[in-house]
């Protein structure tokens, strides 16, 4: 990792409030930097804060991210992969980390049930997920290759509801996307995310927007801010509104 990446590690630690409330943090970057930003976020979470997490891989088999983490000296003992694409990848690359395999990347609206439905179950993944501090998806827009936009919105809606109503330990969800690639998805996510951090090409922060408190008409609106602290459990507010 270069200096630019390490600066971003500190930015991530500053902008994300782990452990206070479940919710989504959205980072936007150019599509060529998606993997790099994912790696930097994982460096901040696993390497610096020593948290437990779940990584859902949709864009490529989990082995690639695992290999990257290993090469960059980031301990992945506390990271569990949910690999949605390995069964379709015809890939010979080997991986040596804990992995849960989904049936496939299609019908992604079943993923919340897989994740949240594991609460209380007696499986190793249920144990991992219940203890997880964060979850990431590599990457959220890649789900659109396999699913309709409506299904992806349904997934996000159900996921937020499930986090708010069925999980006791707060879970921070970090999503990274190129906002120019899928503007409709970006707009939808900014309405859900506790905070949206827009990164410039050089990985510096261009803008931070925090979700404003729910207005009387119930419509959420992300407001530009560089230092606003999100103190309320807005995921609960959003979940109520979505229900």
């Amino acid at each position: 990792m270069n200096e630019r990446d390490l600066r971003l590690v500190h930015t991530i630690q500053r902008e994300i409030q782990y452990g206070s409330a479940s919710g989504i943090y959205l980072f936007t970057t150019k599509y060529t930097n998606l993997v790099r930003v994912n790696l930097v976020v994982l460096k901040a979470e696993l390497g610096e804060k020593h948290m437990r997490g779940v990584m859902v891989t949709v864009d490529r088999p989990h082995q690639y991210l695992s290999h990257l983490l290993q090469l960059h000296g980031i301990d992945q003992t506390d990271l569990t992969f949910v690999d949605a694409v390995s069964n379709h990848a015809s890939d010979t690359k080997k991986g040596g980390v804990a992995t849960e395999f989904q049936n496939g990347p299609f019908n992604i609206e079943t993923l919340p049930d897989f994740l949240i439905g594991s609460v209380g179950a007696v499986t190793s993944f249920a144990k991992d997920f219940s203890r997880a501090d964060f979850m990431m998806i590599d990457n959220i827009a890649a789900m659109l290759v396999f699913n309709h936009m409506e299904n992806l919105k349904m997934f996000l809606k159900t996921y937020i509801q499930a986090l708010a109503t069925r999980r006791t330990k707060p879970l921070t969800t970090v999503l990274v996307m190129d906002k120019t690639q899928y503007p409709e998805l970006y707009e939808y996510l900014t309405g859900l995310a506790l905070k949206t951090v827009d990164l410039a090409d050089d990985m510096t922060v261009r803008e931070v927007r925090s979700l404003s408190p729910s207005p009387p008409d119930g419509r959420h609106d992300a407001q530009p801010s560089t230092s606003e602290v999100v103190g309320l459990d807005k995921s609960v507010l959003i979940a109520r509104e979505l229900m």
Binding site: Y31, T32, L34, V35, R36, L39, R60, P61, Y64, H67, L68, L71, H72, A89, S90, D91, T92, K93, L144, V145, N147, H148, M149, E150, D178, Q181, Y182, D201, D202
Partner: protein, 230 residues
């Protein structure tokens, strides 16, 4: 219910005139074979692809299979104005795979490439030339080619593989079936002149221009598609 939009992110090729032929650039990520005979401009094409990315802050990785020291590559490339020497070792990283090819198995070579890609994290990769690997390796070349392209597609990058063609051959068939795109660079004897052409034979997910287009190689821009032809 609406179908998902067919939006392929595109990475500019850096070759003047080529992006207009392929809907704005190479699909990202993808593996593209640039094939042609000796002197057709394959390495120049590949170098320009990397340096154009470096100008935009994108990381490049040049994997040479010829055991050619970096100083020689730099010496030849310096004739082009686009090749800024300050990029070498930083935005454009040079990696010599040639010395490893004879003594390692296909799986070991794949691991070496993987390791370098994971270390450099490039958005642009060049393997120049890929066809040399086939003549040197003991393992099944077609299996290796399939595994290589599968792995490269899973990294967040566009990879250019350059391929030397034998006389009478249009492109190296052993690798072309596995890649996402095939771009041909051709030399043609026309009277007393030898002209250069480019043709996009295949580009997945792209409504590309078909047919041969004239190209020139200039010191300023390297390979240039001549717009007068389309």
């Amino acid at each position: 219910m609406k179908m998902p939009p067919n939006v392929f992110p595109r990475l500019s090729s850096g070759i003047p005139g080529l992006d207009d032929m392929i809907e704005g650039g190479f699909p990202f990520p993808s593996v593209v074979l640039v094939a042609g005979s000796a002197g057709a401009g394959k390495t120049t094409f590949a170098q320009k692809f990397l340096f154009a990315g470096a100008d935009k802050g994108e990381q490049g990785l040049f994997i040479s299979t010829l055991s050619e020291p970096a100083q020689w590559m730099l010496r030849y490339t310096r004739q082009f104005e686009f090749a800024k020497p300050e990029y070498y070792g930083k935005e454009v990283v040079y990696y010599d795979l040639g010395t490893e090819l004879r003594k390692r198995s296909g799986d070991e070579i794949l691991d070496l490439i993987d390791h370098k890609v994971a270390e450099v994290m490039p958005q642009r990769i060049v393997i120049d030339p890929i066809t040399v690997v086939g003549t040197m390796m003991k393992d099944d070349w077609r299996v290796f080619a399939f595994d290589l392209t599968t792995r490269l597609k899973n990294w967040q990058a566009v990879t250019i593989l350059t391929g030397e063609v034998r006389p009478g051959e249009l492109y190296p068939a052993e690798i072309s079936y596995a890649v996402d795109g095939v771009v041909l660079l051709m030399l043609s004897d026309e009277g007393d002149a030898r002209r250069k052409y480019i043709e996009v034979l295949k580009m997945r997910g792209t409504n590309h221009l078909t047919g041969k287009q004239s190209v020139d190689i200039t010191r300023k821009d390297g390979v240039v598609v001549l717009k007068a032809r389309f």
